[in-house]
């Protein structure tokens, strides 16, 4: 599964996939990667991305990369979340939310979850465009150089690699 996601991500970066799809996938990947996963909010976001035309592989790879280092962001997220959740003006709202069905499972009262939601609400658009820009730059400036480099060619000619690529081509009809 992980190999599939990695190959799909490489394919997405190098194929004619719409950059927005990949950028959105990476943005969602960041969100899922840094948010604690012991709540239904996390699963809802994950399920939502099934409906969107984004590169699922890229999303999963980004989430998997960020998950181990997510606690590094906790102090920042906790700070934001705590100030949001303890704001006097919002206390009534959160008290009501807490008494609503399903909401206690959403993890909204967790400072890191709340901090992630707020942070990503602000950062997701810049991140999306940043990823999109980076992808375009990659495709225009870096991709051809990498593809034509001796090392990649040699790696590509390795029997095991060509075998894996062939299997995935057959399985998922990938062209490269």
């Amino acid at each position: 599964m992980i190999i599939k996601w990695i190959i799909k991500t490489i394919a997405a970066l190098n194929s004619n996939n719409r950059p927005g799809e990949v950028a959105a996938a990476l943005t969602f990947g960041v969100l899922l990667g840094i948010m604690p996963s012991d709540n239904i909010t996390w699963f809802t976001i994950l399920a939502m991305t099934f409906f969107l035309k984004i590169n699922f592989g890229a999303e999963m790879v980004m989430a998997a990369v960020l998950k181990p280092i997510a606690p590094l962001f906790d102090p920042f997220l906790d700070f934001i979340g705590y100030h949001l959740l303890t704001a006097d003006s919002l206390s009534q709202l959160f008290t009501k939310l807490n008494s609503m069905p399903v909401m206690p499972f959403s993890g909204f009262s967790n400072t890191v979850v709340a901090g992630t939601i707020v942070s990503m609400a602000v950062l997701s658009v810049p991140l999306f465009f940043m990823f999109k820009l980076l992808l375009r730059l990659y495709r225009e400036k870096v991709r051809d150089r990498i593809m034509s480099s001796t090392i990649i060619r040699k790696i590509g000619k390795l029997p095991i690699v060509s075998k894996i690529v062939w299997i995935f081509k057959k399985a998922f009809e990938l062209k490269r």
Partner: protein, 660 residues
């Protein structure tokens, strides 16, 4: 037939449409170039060219496919896949929800009690909000061979609305049975358990109490030990002294009388030797008459002395009688003293023994009570009662106030049965919750058992509210229960009877356990051993006088106070008090006293007998004096002329009266 290019690359497009539908969906320059090579721009339209090269056609078809795939924000294929996944999840859930729920609940119990937990055949109905299972067992962490508790078949009705708010609100739980401290088939696994605290139950041996037998040796020993306190030796000594004084006086009197008699006899001899030949020997007659008169007076004096000595002898006889009486009084007094000392009741301390016995009988009940309290305590709020935040794995959880005032976990009513040993109680528990403040009441429980004439009722509560008076309270009432015990009391092989019990126990706020139990027992039928212990205890029990116990205890962290009041020891002591001794026991004590002092008594008797022998001597002296006196009278009669002869002064001679 030659393969055709995909329709989207065979169509004619306006310049604007071509840009929108084709070019903007191509993001790789080589692909854009390949498409632009295919089309030519004529009169504002992009027109496709014919391509025959199969390789080129294949390449263009691939590009057409990517153009198609880069359309729209929603992927139809993905949505379909998601729908398929949803169906699969649904099927998976339908078939695997029960095993998953079973595992989940087992894990939850294991997390709560930190010991292996098992649930058999769980079925979960989300729509009805119903959970059923066949059995549930939770291992006791302190003793993995036992279950902390287990339940039989159960049906739990959950309020699903509250469940969606993250609350466990069970309207009702029907339990087939609940049992605590049951044996496990296999040893349960427990996590991070401390030192194993194995307690081996040892049967308390009967106390070393043994009523001493009253026998001759025991009495002699008691006499020797209490010699100074006995009155008989002093009395015997006093009597002996009296006898000896009397004997000396009497002997001295007899000796003095003997001497007087000798002198009198001599004088009488002289008088008798005087011969009067004629009545005309007036002077001689006159002198003889005077001598006889004087001798008669002497004889009278001697006879008075003899009478005095005889009186002393008589007083010795009285002394002997009163001495016997004094000895008997002293013996009786000493008998009382010795029976007190020998009293077997002195060693009866059954109260202390029974205290331990009762404590042992109550201990399992109290342990179960404490265990039930510890289980109830585990349901107390774990996450800081008043803290605003709680630290979680990542970040902090802000505790917002609850607006609906309902606790997160509550089982409103549980009914079923509770098994303890051979008894199956009907059980009712209400308001099992992790937040009694919100529930507004403590967890109440009641157990009742009724079979034939036996009935037991237990009720109580567990309170964890801030303003509670006590942590817990338990009331126990057993109106009348027949019992049969073996080796319950010393000297008793079996005992049957009826007991009534009312008890109250409570766990205070400082977690100390205190309680009071009143046990009234009656209608005893006991089978005792043949020794004094058995006979005594048995006789007390079989009198059918109620035996009452009032048992109070308080056990804290460092303190343990146990107190038992009972009328049994007094009853036993009364039973063995002197008036209650058997005639055989009394005879043994009296005989032993007499035997111990027999030499002293015998000596006194000998002295008394010795004095009695003096009476013969006294009688002999009296007889001698009387006969001599009579002889003198005869002499006087013979010496004095006939009636017509007047002897001057003869009328003045008085013959002594009857002497003895």
């Amino acid at each position: 037939m030659a393969k055709k290019i995909n329709i989207i690359l065979r169509k004619k497009y306006t310049e604007k449409k071509f840009r929108k539908k084709i070019l903007l969906k191509l993001f790789l320059e080589d692909e854009k170039k390949a498409v632009l090579d295919l089309y030519r721009l004529e009169n504002g339209y992009y027109l496709p060219s014919d391509v025959t090269d199969k390789k080129k056609i294949r390449e263009l078809n691939r590009i057409a496919k990517t153009v198609k795939s880069n359309t729209g924000a929603l992927g139809i294929g993905k949505t379909g896949a998601l729908a398929a996944v949803a169906v699969l999840i649904l099927l998976f859930f339908l078939f695997l929800k029960n095993p998953l729920a079973e595992k989940g609940l087992e894990k939850a119990l294991e997390a709560a009690f930190k010991a292996e937990s098992e649930i058999d055949s769980l079925t979960l109905s989300l729509l009805k909000g119903e959970i059923r299972y066949r059995a549930l067992r939770v291992t006791d962490r302190e003793n993995p061979d036992k279950n902390l508790f287990e339940t039989g078949k159960a049906e739990i009705n959950i309020r699903m609305k509250e469940a969606l708010k993250g609350k466990f609100n069970a309207e009702n739980i029907e339990l087939e049975y609940l049992a605590i401290d049951t044996d496990r088939k296999t040893r349960g696994e427990v996590s991070d358990r401390g030192e194993e605290n194995k307690t081996t139950e040892t049967k308390r041996p009967l106390p070393s109490f043994k009523a001493p037998e009253i026998n001759r040796d025991a009495v002699i020993k008691a006499i020797e030990e209490n010699l100074e306190n006995l009155t008989l030796p002093a009395e015997l000594e006093k009597i002996k002294e009296s006898y000896e004084t009397a004997k000396t006086d009497i002997e001295n009197g007899i000796d003095d009388t003997e001497k007087q008699i000798e002198a009198f006899k001599k004088k009488a001899e002289e008088i008798r030797s005087v011969k009067i030949s004629s009545a005309l020997e007036i002077d001689k007659i006159k002198k003889l008459t005077e001598d006889i008169s004087s001798a008669t007076k002497t004889a009278d004096g001697i006879l008075v002395n003899i009478e005095n000595t005889g009186n002393k002898l008589k007083s010795v006889s009285e002394l002997s009688k009163s001495g016997t009486s004094l000895v008997n009084t002293a013996i009786n007094r000493d008998f009382t003293l010795l029976t007190e000392k020998l009293n077997p009741a002195q060693s009866f301390d059954l109260k202390e023994y029974i205290k331990n016995y009762i404590m042992e009988s109550f201990e399992p009940v109290l342990k179960k009570y404490e265990k039930a309290f510890s289980i109830a305590s585990k349901l107390k709020r774990e996450k800081g009662e008043k803290a605003d935040t709680v630290k979680v794995k990542r970040g902090r959880k802000i505790l917002f106030p609850v607006t609906d005032n309902k606790p997160g976990f509550i089982i409103e009513k549980t009914s079923g049965s509770f098994i303890d040993g051979k008894r199956k109680y009907s059980l009712q528990i209400s308001s099992i919750t992790n937040n009694q403040e919100l529930a507004g009441k403590p967890t109440d429980f009641s157990l009742s058992y009724k079979k034939d004439k036996e009935s037991i009722s237990i009720e109580g509560y567990f309170d964890s509210r801030e303003k509670r008076e006590k942590n817990s309270m338990l009331k126990l009432n057993i109106p009348a229960v027949n019992f049969k015990l073996n080796d319950f009391l010393p000297g008793i092989k079996t005992v049957e009877g009826v007991y009534m019990l009312t008890a109250e126990a409570s766990i205070e706020k400082d977690r100390s356990l205190s309680g009071l139990a009143e046990i009234n027992t009656d209608n005893y039928k006991s089978d005792g051993t043949d020794d004094l212990t058995g006979k005594t205890v048995s006789s007390v029990l079989n009198k059918n006088t109620p035996v009452n116990f009032r048992f109070s205890f308080k056990t804290g962290k460092d303190t343990q106070e146990i107190r038992l009041d009972s009328n049994i020891d007094k009853m036993l002591k009364d039973a063995i008090s002197p008036p209650e001794l058997t005639s055989e026991q009394k005879k043994i004590i009296k005989d032993s006293i007499e035997s111990y002092f027999s030499s002293n008594i015998d000596e006194n008797s000998r002295i008394a007998e010795g004095i009695t022998t003096l009476k013969e001597k006294l009688d002999s002296q009296k007889s001698t004096v009387s006969s001599e006196k009579n002889a003198l009278k005869e002499k006087l009669d013979s010496a004095v002329p006939s009636d017509n002869i007047k002897i001057p002064g003869a009328d003045k001679i008085k013959l002594p009266a009857k002497l003895w």
